[in-house]
């Protein structure tokens, strides 16, 4: 099991559009990927391939999320998704 933790900086958090971008990227990778909002509720996780699941985590600006994956391609998937979140999920980030 591999995992990464990354901080979300989007001013409005992960709302519909950024969630769509994230979920589409996750769906490109074969392994199952789970996402947890450590700031809001470390006990609840969702499939990174479900837009509803990701939105229901209530990820707001400043929240830390943990991504987990297992099996072939897991490392690559996590690295890519982490870079995507750090780059703002298609939104401009505050300086």
């Amino acid at each position: 099991m591999s995992h990464v933790t990354v901080s979300v900086r989007n001013p409005s958090g992960v709302h519909a559009r950024p969630a769509a971008i994230f979920v589409k990227a996750a769906a490109e990778h074969p392994p199952e990927i789970r996402i947890t909002n450590l700031t809001r509720d470390p006990g609840r996780s969702a499939s990174a391939k479900s837009i509803l699941g990701v939105m229901q985590l209530g990820i707001a600006q400043g929240h830390d999320v943990r991504l987990e994956a297992d099996g072939e391609g897991a490392e690559r998937a996590l690295a890519e998704l982490r870079a995507l979140i750090e780059a703002g999920l298609g939104e401009l980030l505050p300086p």
């Binding site: 958090g13 709302h15 519909a16 559009r17 699941g53 939105m55 229901q56 209530g58």
Partner: protein, 563 residues
């Protein structure tokens, strides 16, 4: 050939095949019923197509919303509970609605403003899938067609490709219904409130839609077709002329200027209004920030929306109308008992009796936006004011909001809509304390003539050219003059050529309308001198009905202008 009469709701003439929308009353054929999975495929396909179309027409923001909706429509987290319900014997459409409600409820419980707003998207997707299950999938237009339906919901019209939309014919509706406003904004003809329309047009291959005369001709004869083609050509010439009028102000033949302002209902319409030559926004409907969401919009969300419009218009006035919801436009986050007569119920500023915080938040947002954009005199307008007590209530809330927002340096101008007959009768009292008046002719007509504007049977009574409406306007103008404050008109009447000429003749200082009407209104007003406009207005006050008024003004505007 059959000719049906209706209300001329948007001008122009179109010849095209009909396209039926929604469940048909006339055909008797039940809609195709799909199972959950087939309906999901339909919904996903619709949403992806819509998203692509919006993206390629430069509407990226809206495209993103529907892209996310497409993902939701095939999201197993949403569908799994729905499948379980179906397996337990629930009907598929009820199952997806229930699953959508549950998922939306989770988003609402997060206490995150933005995500709670997305609950509306989840419900929207569930409703779309349910429609597909029931065989009510909205068809896409793939060729030029005249939409024929009983009624047209706003959510349906967002999906119609305007380049294929030749015109709109509805069995219900009135001049002020959403479809009419849409048609005028797109510059296509619309004929509404046509009894027997669906039954008569079923199976027809071609229609002539006459948005000037208010008629639908089914399977037109050769002669009828030629007349319609000629009219459509004339219309193309007129539209080219409208573009020529672009740089010119709104003025009579002898140069009497009247301010030309735009009615808008969303921030993205502001740029188009400016391009079309608006000298200001005469009516910013702020409901867009309040409707279609499950929680109250916070101050920052509202301020950002208002600020973006103020920035665009700079020192040109932007009249922000305070929330006009409740009653017939219920808000999910304001509990309200069902009312027997919503138009006479607790709506607009009357909500402030119970929820003053709603208006105060909105006022603070307007003031903050004005501070941020360097607008010293933001314009606020209170709807549904019946008397001085109402105006003073709003004034009190505004004073509190100024203190709350630390906006003492601003000089906000608080005006009122005149749309209730009692406000007409005490217009002198109101004018003494308001910064400006703006006559909302749609509601004023409905209230004055006791004709429900949503009742198609009364649509022909919803006529702002009625002498009783004109006399009311004359009285309001007189009150504004005596108090030395400006008076505007912002109903549909201001955007209709004959109505605009009358309003100018009655002495209104500003006309506010959909930007698509600018050209036709400029041309009509330029066809008369100010003396002629006053003369026809004075004579119109003395006749007995709207039809006679229409004839008088038509004669005045068709007379060649003296050179």
């Amino acid at each position: 050939m059959i000719r049906l009469r209706g209300i001329a709701a948007a001008p122009g003439v179109a010849i095209a095949p009909p396209r039926f929308l929604g469940p048909l009353a006339g055909d008797g054929a039940p809609g195709q019923v799909l199972d959950l999975d087939a309906a999901i495929d339909v919904a996903v396909e619709q949403l992806e197509a819509l998203s692509r179309r919006l993206a390629t027409s430069g509407r990226g923001e809206e495209a993103g919303i529907f892209e996310a909706q497409a993902l939701l429509a095939r999201d197993e987290e949403l569908l799994r509970p729905a499948r379980a319900l179906v397996a337990a014997g629930e009907r598929a459409d009820a199952a997806i609605i229930a699953a959508g409600d549950d998922a939306a409820g989770v988003l609402e419980s997060l206490e995150d403003e933005v995500l709670a707003g997305r609950a509306a998207d989840v419900r929207d997707v569930a409703a779309r899938v349910a429609r597909a299950i029931r065989g009510e999938a909205p068809p896409r237009l793939t060729e030029r067609a005249i939409i024929v339906a009983r009624d047209l919901a706003p959510s349906v019209t967002a999906e119609l490709d305007p380049s294929f939309l030749a015109g709109i014919a509805l069995e219900s509706g009135s001049r002020t219904s959403h479809a009419a406003i849409l048609a005028r904004a797109l510059g296509i003809p619309a004929v509404l409130a046509v009894p027997g329309l669906l039954e008569a047009t079923f199976g027809a291959r071609e229609l002539v839609l006459d948005g000037d005369g208010g008629a639908v001709v089914i399977e037109p004869s050769v002669a009828e077709r030629q007349v319609a083609l000629a009219a459509a050509e004339g219309q193309a010439v007129r539209q080219a002329g409208d573009r020529e009028l672009l740089g010119r102000p709104l003025a009579t033949a002898d140069g009497h200027r009247v301010m030309l302002a735009a009615n808008i209902g969303a921030p993205d319409a502001a740029a188009r209004a400016l391009e079309a030559g608006a000298e200001g926004i005469g009516l910013l409907r702020t409901e867009f920030t309040f409707l279609d969401r499950s929680t109250e919009p916070d101050e920052a969300t509202q301020a950002a929306a208002y600020g973006s419009i103020m920035r665009l218009f700079g020192q040109r006035p932007v009249v922000v109308r305070l929330l006009d919801a409740g009653g017939d436009k219920p808000l999910p986050y304001v509990s309200q008992a069902p009312e027997a007569n919503p138009f006479l119920g607790v709506r607009a500023i009357r909500l402030a009796w119970r929820r003053p915080d709603l208006l105060r938040t909105q006022m603070r947002a307007i003031l903050r936006a004005a501070l941020a954009e360097g607008i010293r005199e933001p314009h606020l307008m209170a709807p549904m004011v019946s008397d001085l007590a109402d105006l003073r209530l709003v004034r009190g809330l505004l004073d509190e909001s100024i203190a709350d927002a630390g906006a003492e340096e601003l000089r906000p101008r608080l005006g009122i809509m005149i749309e209730i007959p009692s406000a007409v009768l005490v217009a002198d009292q109101l004018a003494a304390e308001a910064a400006f008046l703006s006559i909302g002719t749609n509601d004023l007509t409905q209230y004055l003539l006791a004709a429900d504007r949503t009742n198609p049977e009364l649509a022909h009574r919803q006529d702002p050219l009625h002498p009783a409406v004109l006399r009311s306007i004359a009285r309001v103008v007189e009150a504004a003059r005596a108090a030395g404050i400006p008076v505007a008109a912002c109903g549909e009447m201001a955007g209709e050529p004959l109505g605009a000429v009358l309003l100018v003749g009655l002495g209104v200082d500003e006309l506010s309308m959909e930007p698509a009407a600018f050209g036709a209104v400029k041309r009509a007003v330029a066809s008369v001198t100010v003396a002629e406009a006053k003369d026809v207005a004075r004579r119109s006050l003395e006749v007995s009905d709207a039809e006679l008024v229409r004839r008088l003004v038509t004669a005045a505007t068709e007379r060649p202008a003296p050179s």
